[in-house]
């Protein structure tokens, strides 16, 4: 009996530490397959401006800039929408409406990205082409639009938590001093929730930069450096889409294969930094509720 308990508790401990093990393992395997790219290509080639794997040109700059462009576009669209929706759900919507809106956001979170990508291709991109009068509807902007909606559930739920965490006394104090409901929201609640809102934005960025299928299907996949002021309305190609589209066709162990893994390392590093910073704030806060008994 005691022995069995000992074994079970040991297993639970192992499971507990497995998360660290897996992060390290993922990093190691990305390095193992990706690092050879750095001596198989010159730095000038790897960070160059031209991505033509068939001619051994592996310039990742257009892909990195493509990811940045699409992600920035998505954040610019999603941030006001997400914040406003979070405030609306928490401060303005009556109870019954809240009970409809919250599941609706969950549904959005549940729609597979390939379904949104498909819809983006067949339904949204023709609209983009017509409205903006551009030669093709498969543009960075279309990608940003899809990504914005895909990161909305993250932004809304984190911002919602942040607003919820503002002490009621702050709010009551503002109202008692004669501030209107809106003044209270704008001058007291949102500033107090600022760090949570920043986390919401960061996690939204992390979500957007790593999204693959929808982006691959709607951005037109042209690896070009965004140069014009309106680059957002031309086709672009992201790091994620490049990996997804090309990994299936490369010979294992080739330079192209290693470079795709190296792009994976870049993605891993970027999302790691974003999430590490965001989580440092999350982990610190919050009192203990149930859980381990002391001693």
């Amino acid at each position: 009996m005691r022995n069995r308990e000992f074994v079970i508790e040991a297993l639970i401990r192992v499971a507990g530490f497995s998360a660290i093990f897996f992060v390290v393992l993922i990093f190691l395997f990305l390095m193992r397959e990706g690092v050879p790219a750095f001596w198989e290509t010159s730095a000038g080639n790897f960070f160059g401006e031209r991505w033509y794997p068939n001619e051994d040109l592996f310039g990742t700059l257009p892909l990195i800039l493509g990811s940045l462009l699409v992600t920035l576009g998505a954040v610019v669209i999603a941030l006001p929408l997400g914040l406003a929706t979070a405030v609306f759900i928490r401060e303005l919507a009556p109870g019954w409406l809240r009970e409809i809106l919250k599941p609706l956001v969950e549904i959005l979170a549940g729609i597979p990205s390939v379904v949104l990508g498909f819809l983006g291709m067949v339904a949204v991109s023709p609209l983009v082409r017509e409205w903006l009068n551009v030669p093709t509807g498969l543009t960075a902007f279309t990608g940003s639009l899809m990504l914005a909606y895909m990161s909305l559930p993250t932004i809304i739920s984190v911002a919602d938590d942040a607003i919820d965490a503002v002490p009621k006394a702050h709010r009551d104090g503002a109202l008692a001093l004669g501030a209107t409901h809106w003044q209270t929201i704008w001058r007291v609640v949102l500033p107090a929730a600022r760090s949570g809102v920043i986390i919401a934005v960061m996690l939204g960025i992390g979500r957007a930069i790593g999204e693959t299928m929808a982006v691959m299907m709607v951005t037109g996949n042209a690896a070009r450096i965004p140069q014009e002021w309106n680059a957002l309305f031309f086709p672009a190609r992201t790091m994620t889409a490049t990996i997804a589209a090309e990994m299936g066709e490369v010979a294992q162990g080739s330079t192209h294969y290693h470079v795709l893994f190296a792009v994976g390392i870049l993605l891993f590093a970027v999302t790691f930094v974003i999430n590490a910073i965001a989580s440092l704030v999350v982990i610190k806060g919050g009192p203990r509720r149930g859980g381990r008994l002391m001693g």
Partner: protein, 281 residues
């Protein structure tokens, strides 16, 4: 401008933006249902694709996705639940525990296509599993872990502390307390988390691209080491790789995938709300 006017303008703007968020969600779901429902019938669900996938059904893709979802459950649940129990019931607040939490948050943030690369590197090539259901399930399982851990931990933490105190004071050991008192009370919440995790796995494409998904297979997989077709990848293939694909079949496939995934969501919601109503603390 008076304070009341600015409040009215601000609230109107907030309402407008919330509508801009919500209406497209309803439209997307409604549009796929309307466009896809015509293609979906019994034959569509139970027959193989024919004529270069331009006719026939999506049976192998549906079966493949169901198999992968079960595989994901097997791969992720034991480890994730164990980790959640550790974090909630055993871990002290040390730097080690904080690094575990950091690791979980980072696992949750790793792009799905990077999981695909990792699965290719470790399971498919290094461990020699090949592109197979096992390799795909392990990849998806790993990706699902952080979601399950955080929701399961949340469920465990919501069991009131006095339950543990009473059980321990009656002489039960820590594991007996967990097994007999904490777990039964946390079960519905944990189940919700597991299902939400599986929902995400069932709809994912990028992690299975290089680890399991087949473009087209004329028969169903016979062993866990076989490749399989899967709904999300199938939708990607017929939407982008097959010229002259009838639009109706594409919408039909999207609809089946959407229904499959969202029904998991509904199951999770029902479990959660029934549990909330019944719970007595």
């Amino acid at each position: 401008m008076s304070r009341q006017t600015s409040q009215r303008i601000a609230f109107a703007l907030l309402t407008f933006l919330a509508i801009v968020v919500m209406v497209p969600i309803v439209l997307v779901v409604a549009y796929i249902i309307v466009q896809g429902i015509g293609a979906v019938n019994w034959e569509f669900l139970t027959s193989f694709p024919r004529n270069g996938m331009k006719e026939g059904g999506i049976l192998p893709a549906v079966i493949g996705t169901v198999l992968l979802t079960f595989g994901t459950a097997i791969a992720s649940i034991p480890l994730a639940v164990g980790a959640a129990i550790y974090l909630s019931e055993y871990a002290r607040d040390t730097w080690l525990t904080r690094s575990i939490r950091l690791a979980i948050i980072n696992l949750a943030g790793i792009p799905s296509v990077v999981y695909g690369l990792f699965g290719l590197g470790l399971f498919v090539l290094f461990l020699g599993l090949g592109t197979s259901i096992v390799a795909g399930s392990l990849t998806l399982g790993l990706m699902t872990m952080p979601v399950v851990i955080s929701t399961a931990e949340e469920a465990l933490l919501s069991v009131p502390q006095r339950f543990r105190v009473v059980s321990r004071s009656l002489g039960a050991s820590r594991w007996q307390t967990i097994r007999q008192v904490v777990l039964p009370n946390a079960l519905p919440g944990m189940l919700t988390g597991v299902i939400l995790g599986l929902e995400r796995a069932a709809g994912e494409t990028a992690p299975i691209l290089f680890t399991v998904a087949a473009f087209y297979l004329p028969q169903l997989p016979k062993s866990p080491l076989d490749q399989t077709m899967a709904l999300p990848y199938h939708l990607y293939v017929i939407a982008t790789q097959v010229p002259g694909m009838p639009l109706e079949i594409q919408y039909g496939t999207a609809l089946v995938l959407l229904v499959l995934v969202l029904s998991l969501n509904v199951v999770a919601t029902v479990i959660r709300s029934r549990f909330r109503r019944r719970r007595q603390w």
